[in-house]
């Protein structure tokens, strides 16, 4: 059964004076004595004498003043929130409806609560230091609005040096764009991040530190928040640190304004401390239920994701948050050791290169996709290419030079081996597997770029099986190289040049994509080897021209081949049905292979007329190859 206080003071402001009558007419038997805030401030001792319970309605400053008195005079407090005080409503689980708020405010079961003082000013729910665009974003808004809000606040963000000292004497030196002090605040992403670990009576101040080290990290955090908005986060995201202590001292590199409960209140240095069980407030039943059984907890420091050591120095030097993050020192060291090793020519590489090319060449002649795939599994080309990408990115001359030598050696071996095998074969058929590598297009460049990203990515993480990406890269390199070698063996320049164009496309695409991936993953703060990368990019641009033309040609080819399915010809009274048409290009000529159905035998004159009709109606010179099936 709910008990209500027998008497209460009602502290009002001119704006809330109208509530006096409503309170005095309460149906809970509570005698309500109104007191204007100005009157209370003038004679606090006299007005509060004998008061056990005070109901307050007014601005946050007025409420804080009453809480200050409550601390001194040990009375309980009921709060009637105004319509605009949404943070107050959410944080203290107060009813929005006035009748319900009055009922709650007059209850006799106030909850004992901690009071947080920041530079001796009461903090009701949140304080913000610096720019905290990530975590200060209201959590209650919808996803698109949150996204817009988060993006708006992000511009001009910079990491500043912060010193944090906890009650336990632990000092944390870091860089962050800002931090938030929370007192069971509900309604921001920050409060959502720590909601499982915060209570009204834990005797602790909670501090959430935002340190997005790059635009990419920020976006990743944002994505995570957006897609798990409804879920509580037990694990802190990468850009966030969390400190919980009875007292936290915050010092910043430069003096920063501190906003307490949405108003500029003080500046750094800032000392926030908690006064455990300092006040008793009538809070909503849900919050009260949650607060049951919460004990005073220990200090917690979770700052693994915050910049420290050399990273801290780098972060402080920067004018603004960079686009890409830096890789950790450990990862950086591991990767470079591996890449230097990969760039050296060794016996295993040469042997594997010979074997994979031989296998690929035989597979191509056999027109066997599975044998060609087997060759890709053997091919060791990924290692020097990825090393070359890093060498160019970081302008590491030795690494780049060794990698180039290794690639060139591999190329020479592959071309030589494939040419030799071709010379040994008496029969040199052009199989579909070979033909597939003679018309490189922009789509092949897409394959190369994807393979390059995969190669660099897997190389960056020891835990990922690197042979997977190795196969992806070999798909793009070994078969074209083998076909180019076959071209040499056949003495066919067109054959060689087309396959070599495909190989070059893939090589350049993989190098650029790998370099870009390393850059994104933070292995190079800037592109040092600008000239090297620019040369590769120029090659790519040059290669893109024939590739794009080739792509257009292929699109046209597909359109034409498709349209032929509905084309018919009446030639000298003979009806010709095109069953299938395949367009091909050889030696600068366009060949069309057609399967046609006809009832009557076709003469030379019929075929000539047929050819004329095609050339007239399709406006192109085509060499015709016709296979006729006669309708019985």
């Amino acid at each position: 059964m709910t008990n209500y206080v027998s008497s209460a003071l009602f502290v009002y402001t001119p704006d809330t004076k109208a509530l006096i009558q409503r309170l005095q007419a309460n149906s809970f038997g509570t005698a309500v004595t109104p007191v204007a805030i100005d009157d209370l401030l003038q004679n606090p001792q006299e007005r509060l004498a004998g008061a056990d319970h005070v109901v307050v309605a007014g601005t946050l400053d007025v409420i804080k003043q009453v809480l200050q008195f409550a601390r001194e005079h040990a009375f309980s407090v009921g709060i009637l929130p105004g319509e605009t005080q949404k943070d107050l409503v959410r944080s203290y689980d107060l009813p929005r409806n006035l009748d319900a708020a009055v009922e709650l405010a007059l209850r006799r079961d106030a909850q004992v609560m901690d009071l947080i003082l920041c530079n001796e000013q009461i903090l009701l729910f949140k304080g913000a230091v610096g720019r905290v665009p990530l975590i200060d974003t209201p959590g209650a808004v919808n996803r698109p609005a949150m996204l817009v809000s988060a993006f708006k606040k992000f511009f001009g963000l910079k990491l500043l040096g912060f010193d944090l000292i906890t009650a336990g004497g632990r000092r944390i030196e870091t860089a962050a764009c800002g931090c938030m002090i929370l007192q069971h605040h509900v309604g921001s992403l920050a409060s959502r991040l720590i909601s499982h670990d915060s209570s009204l009576t834990d005797g602790m101040v909670s501090l959430v530190v935002a340190a997005p080290r790059s635009v990419v990290a920020y976006l990743r955090f944002l994505t995570r928040i957006l897609f798990t908005l409804s879920a509580k986060h037990k694990r802190l995201p990468a850009a966030i640190g969390y400190v919980r202590s009875a007292r936290i001292e915050i010092t910043s590199e430069t003096e920063l304004d501190v906003f307490i409960d949405g108003r500029r209140a003080t500046h750094t240095p800032l000392v926030c401390r908690t006064l455990p069980g300092a006040v008793r407030i009538n809070i909503g039943p849900d919050l009260k239920e949650k607060s049951k059984g919460v004990r005073h907890s220990a200090e917690r420091i979770d700052v693994d994701h915050l910049p420290k050591g050399k990273e801290l120095l780098k972060a402080r030097k920067q004018q603004k948050v960079p686009f890409f993050s830096y890789a950790s020192e450990e990862r950086f060291r591991d990767l470079f050791t591996a890449l230097r090793e990969d760039a050296r020519i060794n016996g295993a590489y040469l042997v594997l290169m010979v074997l994979s090319t031989l296998l690929a060449t035989v597979g191509l002649y056999l027109n066997s996709a599975s044998v060609v795939i087997g060759a890709m599994l053997l091919a060791p080309l990924m290692a020097p290419i990825v090393s070359l990408a890093m060498g160019l990115l970081r302008s590491d001359g030795m690494l780049a030079r060794n990698s180039i030598l290794k690639i060139m050696a591999g190329m020479a071996i592959a071309l030589g081996a494939a040419a030799l095998v071709t010379l040994l074969f008496a029969d040199k058929p052009v199989t579909p597997e070979m033909e597939a590598r003679l018309n490189p297009t922009l789509l092949d460049l897409g394959v190369a770029i994807t393979a390059g990203v995969a190669g660099a990515y897997t190389k960056s993480f020891k835990e990922i099986l690197q042979s997977l990406a190795g196969v992806a890269i070999a798909v793009a390199l070994v078969p074209p190289l083998a076909v180019a070698g076959i071209g040499i063996g056949r003495g066919d320049l067109h054959f060689f040049s087309q396959a070599f164009l495909l190989f070059s496309t893939n090589l350049v695409g993989i190098i650029l994509a790998s370099a870009f991936t390393f850059r994104v993953l933070g292995y190079s703060p800037v592109i040092r080897g600008k000239r090297g990368i620019a040369t590769v990019a120029l090659f790519l641009a040059l290669i893109a021209v024939p590739l794009s033309l080739s792509y257009d040609r292929i699109v046209q080819k597909r359109i034409i081949e498709k349209s032929w399915k509905k084309e018919r010809f009446l030639v000298n009274g003979k009806y010709l049905i095109i069953q299938r048409a395949r367009l091909s290009r050889r030696g600068g000529k366009e060949l069309i292979f057609m399967d046609i159905l006809a009832r009557d035998a076709l003469t030379r004159d019929d075929l000539m007329k047929f050819k004329q009709k095609i050339q007239t109606n399709f406006n192109r010179k085509l060499v015709l190859r016709v296979r006729t099936t006669y309708i019985p």
Binding site: E567, R568, L570, G573, Y575, L597, R599, T616, N617, N619
Partner: protein, 378 residues
Amino acid sequence: MQRFIHITLFMVAVIGLAACDQKPVVQPSGRTVKIGIVAPFTGTDRAKGNEGLKGIHTAMQLMPYLQNGDAIKLVLEDDGNDSVRSVKALKKLAATDKVSAILTLSSSGPVLKMADVADDYKTPILALLATHPDITRNNHFISQFPFDDDFQGTVAAQYVRDELLMDRAAVVINPESAHSRHLGAKFAQEFQTLGGRTTNMVSLSGDTDDYESVVKRVRRKNPELVYLPIRAKAVIRLVQIAGKMDWHPQAMVGDGLLSTVLTKYRKEARLLDGLLASDFYAHQAPLSAYGKRLKSAYKGNATTYTALGMEGYALLVNALNRCRDPADRACINRMIRSTRNFTGLMGRISIESDGKARRPLFVNAIHDGHMKYVVKVY
């Protein structure tokens, strides 16, 4: 400074390239060249005339002048698709209005009558719809823009024999229509030449005939396909009656009929599901660049008649442009008859020296109430 130079060079290159793509602007000369249009704008066949005229007007929006700057003026004559009125219209346009050339949207019957006197007036006439093969015989001034019925009948028979692999076909013709008589006969002849058997050759004239007895007669011989070079209304009635008898043979019709069905008899289109037709165009076939321009300029659903109007006008203007004097009728006639590989809406069109057109034929079908492109025959 270097950046400024780069930007300037880039701008110059872009403007240069854009300029290369621009066609020279025609300066109006202040002179006018007249083109006569003879078409049924009233009467039962008015859709042909009006739809065709819409096409001509659309093409005219894109080409209002000759290359020498002469403005093109249309002189319209309504013949109601009547032979006597067609000849009168020809006389008036040639002698009184002194048009440079005539486009006609009339059917084969009226155009055949015009053909009798065409040489007297020595005015080039481009027949946009008439497909009877005799239109270009015995005169030098009428050229056919569509393929003729010989080609159409042959292709239809070949398609039925070689693609549908059918052996027995019945033919229903309208004996009052020269086009229908000839097309039906040509189909039957070609079909038999290809080893097929024509089970019936039935005449059906006007609304008075007993359609039911016609259907019964045809059905009795059990043909796999019925070839119907007759009017749309008659085709619909025959199909309705056959449906009531629970008989659903494959049917095939001639040029322009699907257009009439889809414009005049939209509600009955579903009834004709599966009906095949030879035609000049197909809805889903790829358009040429000129076709795309016309399509974007034309508001509404273009029919076969609209498209023929668009193409025919463009081809005539092309011939006029090739003559130094756009009033030189002999030259215009020569130019029409030496048109080679003119790019139409969906393919190339040539007019031979005998006035016959060489252009692709489409076989379309009605599917779910819409025209569906089946094959294109060159």
